[in-house]
Point group: D2
Chain length 266, copies 4
């Protein structure tokens, strides 16, 4: 059955014949393999253009920044899944990626949308301070969370943020989105009654939007980066398994508070 | 409940405190962000060591080689999934990754295991030709497929293979696994009665094993690379959707050959 | 790290000791296996209570109604995934379930939320007609789609709807949510300028909410039901594979509209 | 591209026109909704035939038996995933299903293959005792695990096994696969030097194969059943979240045993 409107029947990403694979208009074997780094190739795939050295440097920095942070929920879920289903490493990676959601790793996208909304408002002539205030008030009225600020562990500052801004600055790629991210950080205490430091999921969209990366592909950044970390964890899980150690500890942390049949002893 | 043996309770990938995130023994913010490319960082995550320039060049080449090849099954599945569930980009990526299995993209791992088995046999003193013959005969006896050879489109040669070997050669990283991959290619006509050209999923483990990449993490290569391609496809799907165009065409290709109730007209 | 608030550390679903498994307060082996149907057990798992015969009959009817509808996107994605990764049937099922999203199968939940919002408004004293009008106007103002109406194939009427309402009526379980669903259907032409028939994803929440099923678990209905259909498709895929036939047809339906290198011929 | 052989282009599961949906040859709305239970419908979907009352009773018993067992790894992974990505319940269910692998819930399929191999051997004229001995010796020689025996918690006996056999006996559906399952249980101490009680993943294929359920669809049983349990857990997770409590406890159970930069204090 035909679902929805179906006007377009085309894609501009890749085609091929028996001798040649074309990716984004280039001959993959002749022009891209051995010529581009994987990070440059990712930018090309997403945008259709080969990035400048500065753009690539910023993108590399964000991917390195978000690839790994120990036994976070997505890693735990992935290692448990691999312990239960070692025949399918792809399934364990998929389980980990499914945890890149709105609450945890997906907040890069949410913060990017927030900054883009403020930038758009400022395009209309408002100062960044006023634009930020207006958009933040809208978020608060709609009871929407402000993504990109605060961290359960790095409460005073997120060590990745300063470094990302430094790299972006050296690359000559910092601009108004970084400015917006800092402006929001400054306004939050007045809005929320407490300080929440800009976190890595706020810094990533700030530097990437300044570098020209598309906002609608921001969610791909933590997903791609974490895939690298998950593969490392799954190799370690093959070498010495801890997936079931973690599931046991998780289960032990939870009490049963329902009823039991007469005579049942836990 | 405690499932299986649980001697180990440790991981060597990452730890952190409030100020510092440690990844593979380094200070992430100070030593890695802005210093390593994402490809170097991936090698560090997986192996614990920073790669040489040559190792990084080979790894980059393999990731670029396998990231994208148009509307392959995993991309089709991913774009359909996104069309049906646009609220969860991570779910569409996961659906695509789940198609990196033993038949399609996972054959890099299978070919790596084949080459490693031949290399191990040759370590015992056999020539590579004899080692290959012996291992291939075992595969045939066990009716196991020979992974890494033949391609539905690139029948005469896979354009990525020559280029990967060239890059690896320039980097000074070609060695016995490349030699083994070519040896197997040469023996296949005698074994199978037809020529099957070495494909990209055979070339990738050949050059990566020569470069010192661990065989047990080979399956991560197509998974990481395709994640990049999937993100590009899902951005395009947001911009102009073709997921339901493809599901309609897929459904149209299939006839119903079961029974129907009296009076039913298709 | 501790993410979010963590006051509760308990669950009321299941506990066990070496001799006994407790599910929702009952002894699984003694009281549930062989006593409850799977549908009754599902209701018990979700709500904590054993359903009445009427509730079970309505739940059975909805699960049967939504389990299968041929080569829909989630089935296509699942069969392709299995063709590529036959070692992991669970991965192919997961890929299919990932397509139960806001656009397609997940609209049961969306329609349930719509009907619940209208019912709540009517609780405040408004007639159902007025409550529906008010809530529909809010949806339109917020440019939210009206879920549960219209179908790409069953344009005049969805054959499952009438039957579900009949079953629910026989079971004595139709009430205000069915009334609301019909009321909305009647108001849509005035609101949208065209008739859109109530579809199965609208009828399911109507009868289930009337029967006392929790609105927050509505999304589980299509997920559970489709899992049954997916398992049937994956058995057929093992018996005679069509996954790659469908991916080929899907790819053929899409043109490449990007640039090509000089001399490239498709 | 055309991958693999593509002779067949048909399916016998479902077709439809604007007025009628056909499932396994029946009119879904007229003949199945309200007539079949979900369990009967599942059997019809998988096999093409409506089950007898005895077959349905056995299938119901197995689905009830395996649907829920507390905070097992797949449930833990699913609840963590939902906590991180609450916008996509389908993703959390998928993450849970991905843990139905060869080590944990998938062993029903493995045990079914073992019993079917013994039954086939016995068809050739051997006694069940001799057939079991021969097949078990083959498994041991190939270092394959014997699936369906032993349980980390229910060491003396699995309470579900006796009840499943009782139900199957009452339904008149116990036969040689149950006999084989018990025969293997009796031979294991001699083979392994220790007693391992038949577990639920061994009992399920025994009674289902006796009832005529297809061996190639056995893996669908734990997948379908656990989907019901996962939906209940995800409703509870919405009501009071414990996903991050569990991920914190899991992470706390693991020490970091890699290097740290000078001056780092955990």
């Amino acid at each position: 059955m035909k679902i929805g409107r179906q006007e377009r029947h085309s894609s501009a990403i890749s085609t091929s014949n028996e001798e040649t694979i074309v990716v984004r208009g280039r001959d993959l074997a002749r022009d891209l393999i051995g010529t581009l780094s994987f990070t440059e190739h990712f930018w090309l795939l997403v945008t259709g253009a080969i990035p400048s050295a500065a753009q690539c440097r910023v993108l590399d920095a964000t991917l390195v920044a978000i690839a790994e942070h120990g036994m976070v929920p997505s890693v735990v879920a992935s290692r448990m899944t691999f312990a239960a289903a070692p025949e399918a490493l792809q399934g364990a990676v998929a389980a980990g990626i499914l945890g890149c959601g709105s609450v945890i790793l997906g907040s890069s996208e949410g913060a990017g949308n927030l900054f883009a909304a403020i930038a758009k408002r400022a395009d209309g002539g408002a100062s960044i301070a006023h634009a930020a205030q207006a958009v933040l008030n809208e978020y608060r009225s709609a009871k929407r969370p402000i993504p990109g600020y605060g961290h359960p562990l790095h409460k005073q500052f997120d060590p990745r943020v300063q470094r990302l801004f430094q790299i972006a600055g050296e690359a000559g790629e910092t601009g108004r989105h970084v400015q917006i991210a800092r402006e929001v950080e400054g306004q939050l205490p007045g809005l929320l009654g407490k300080r929440l430091a800009l976190n890595v999921s706020g810094a990533i969209p700030a530097v990437l939007l300044d570098a020209g990366y598309p906002v609608a592909a921001l969610k791909g950044i933590p997903i791609l980066a974490r895939t690298a970390g998950l593969i490392a964890h799954l190799l370690e899980e093959q070498q010495h398994a801890i997936g079931f150690v973690m599931s046991h500890a998780a289960a032990e942390a939870i009490d049963y508070d329902g009823e039991v049949p007469a005579g049942f002893k836990a």
